[in-house]
Symmetry: C2
Subunit: 177 residues, 2 copies
């Protein structure tokens, strides 16, 4: 967890009040379901298969114990987990010693998209989490296929100025330190 | 520093043998010069101005003390600093609990570009640093204006599958925690 972030907080959307809080070990099934509730993620291997439980469980522990990372989720009034995102605080030399806040793995339950949940999450990131962590840049990458997501980020003031490159390290041992 | 990385190492290029090592406080001037030796970076404020020394110096300490980050530089046989890059190890849930290695702020001295320095650095990242840190993905973003850099990354096997978005947090306090 990133200690500088005061959580949980209430997020207000046009339809309902939501709670943004840190993920806990018992949220594992709900997080796996959210990650697989998306055709692009499913194509990359996030299919909520029971064989993958140990890998996801180990990742959940590692992310939540890391002082530079926070794994967050959004609960509706009934306590259902409807969205998630990961934040990483990255100090750096470029841009006159700017600290960056990286947002990864943003997922909103497919039944609730366009309901203001994602906007409320990202507004909290730019307006609350970034200043709280001393970050002057918030950055993220989004698959080129996610055209709707690109328009969403542009409406929020993000500028798609960069190309995001990925390299798959097939031979890497899974989860080894 | 990322403890799992065994440094320094020798990098071999067609022209010369180089040393890749961790940055130290006394490398501050050389790092500021490299960051400003690039028109795109200079336009973002990296101009190696003396007024910016404290901000860069504080960033250098913070990056090198962070257990998830490493600031590296390349020295030629005469001991001159000719290149730099930052690595960040990021555990995560997506892609079945994959750890990622993020590369930021890659800079090679303008007089030495196309001499194989960048290739040798990136090959070390994908073939040595990624497995050593348990990372199955290496990722980076590159300004859309850096067309030559995009071809360079594609030749190395990177896939430009994503759009990189940035949001400038003007009101954020500089360098506060």
């Amino acid at each position: 967890m990133i200690a500088a972030l005061a959580l949980p907080v209430t997020l207000t959307t046009p339809r309902q009040e939501l709670v943004l809080r840190r993920a806990r070990p018992e949220d594992l099934d709900a997080l796996m379901a959210l990650l697989s509730d998306d055709p692009i993620s499913a194509a990359r291997g996030d299919r909520a298969e029971q064989d993958d439980l140990p890998a996801y469980g180990q990742a959940l522990v590692e992310v939540t114990e890391d002082p530079s990372n926070d794994l967050l989720l959004v609960e509706d009034a009934a306590g259902a987990v409807i969205a998630t995102m990961q934040l990483t605080r990255i100090p750096g030399m470029a841009r006159r010693g700017s600290t960056r806040l990286l947002v990864e793995a943003v997922r909103v339950s497919s039944s609730l998209r366009s309901g203001g949940v994602g906007s409320a999450m990202m507004r909290w990131v730019t307006d609350v989490a970034a200043p709280a962590t001393g970050s002057s840049i918030v950055q993220l990458t989004s698959d080129e296929a996610r055209v709707d997501a690109h328009r969403f980020y542009e409406r929020l003031g993000f500028v798609g100025s960069h190309r995001g490159f990925k390299y798959a390290v097939d031979a890497a041992p899974r989860r080894a330190r």
